[in-house]
Symmetry: C2
């Protein structure tokens, strides 16, 4: 029974990768770089976008919001006057706990790709399944809030390994927590040695310029011919 | 394609419910009441168990720890000198983001059911899928940490609806957040009107005696003949 399940999962991931490549080709043709932004619920994905998308120099950014239900995050992003599309996994996709390539593909017609340099896909808040599904992105980022504790890399290693950047958020709360930042770095290096990381507070704005600069850098990347 | 997926999900949930009933019969026969404890990653499930399981009067408690990988939480619980079994979804269950009835059933032989009054199953940290899978429990509880924001009931309504008790944790951090507790209650009532709730800090111990008393009450429940 377990083997059958693993087989089904593998088939689903194969199909996903095929669609992810098709997405990637569309993004490349349009000259849009894509960031897959992941985290646990409430780690601050939307707040970080609010703190950075208003000031990306000349980079034209858009956002694809993934949620099980509702459009709270998309409504928040709308105030930034960037194109935003809400994708709900609950309405047509069985209430899935993650975005996959097919869901993203279903939203592409609603996105003004030709007018964008950078598309940020805010995934469903979840530290497990989003890491398994490529969506055609150029870069995967995750946010780990210090309020979640230092042990998260050890408990959700696939997520921390799948990303090229780890954002440590909510550092304004460090004085009020027993959170050992050195221990977090140690755990992070044990599952993804040397992965790029930055610490910031999306709420106070401390350190967010570094993340904004990173986004600008992704937008400037040449098209990778790996697909 | 979506309809096929929904069909597969429904079949899986049917099978799950059958096994959940078998678990429940085993629990009833042994006179053990079972609590399914759920939350997002880092909301404080294990810390709350550490703060309460040492002092439940005469109630003999055990813990089943669910994680994708590792035994960090089980190691923490071991110090409390209660029986604890670690269940990893990563080793035999395809890295699932939730526990299901079959996984719990696979762990039953390792649990000293006849020596317990109360079994607490700490689910995988996730606000989506755990709510869909019954495991044979008597009660479902979720923890929502104030650091996650007030909007979580609106974004993960199934989880908040599936529970008979919502624990609002990390209230010691309220002075350092822009968290509106009234707004949270309002959102919670909009998805699960009047559901029982309690606010506490597992870290400082404020309010944990109320949760301990609730656990004692669950352990004292008569066997429900609903299966």
């Amino acid at each position: 029974m377990h083997r059958t399940r693993v087989r089904i999962v593998e088939d689903a991931l194969d199909a996903n990768n095929t669609i992810a490549r098709a997405n990637r080709e569309d993004f490349d043709r349009a000259g849009v770089r894509v960031v897959n932004l992941m985290s646990a619920p409430g780690a601050g994905k939307t707040t970080l976008l609010e703190a950075t998308l208003g000031d990306l120099g000349g980079v034209r950014a858009g956002v694809l919001e993934g949620d099980v239900q509702g459009s709270l995050d998309a409504d928040r992003i709308t105030h930034l006057h960037v194109p935003v599309v809400q994708l709900n996994t609950g309405s047509h996709f069985g209430g899935e706990c993650h975005l996959d390539a097919n869901m993203v593909r279903s939203a592409l017609p609603e996105l003004p790709l030709s007018e964008l340099d950078l598309l940020i896909v805010e995934n469903v808040g979840n530290l497990v399944c989003p890491a398994e599904f490529r969506i055609g992105e150029d870069a995967r980022v995750m946010i780990s809030a210090v309020t979640e504790g230092e042990d998260k890399p050890l408990k959700y290693p696939l997520m921390f390994r799948a990303c090229e950047l780890v954002v440590i958020n909510k550092i304004d709360l460090l004085p009020h927590l027993e959170y050992d930042l050195d221990r977090f770095h140690h755990h992070l290096d044990s599952v993804h040695p040397g992965v790029a990381r930055m610490a910031l507070s999306a709420r106070t704005g401390e350190g967010v310029e570094e993340f904004a600069a990173w986004l600008v850098g992704v937008a400037a990347r040449a098209v990778a011919h790996e697909h």
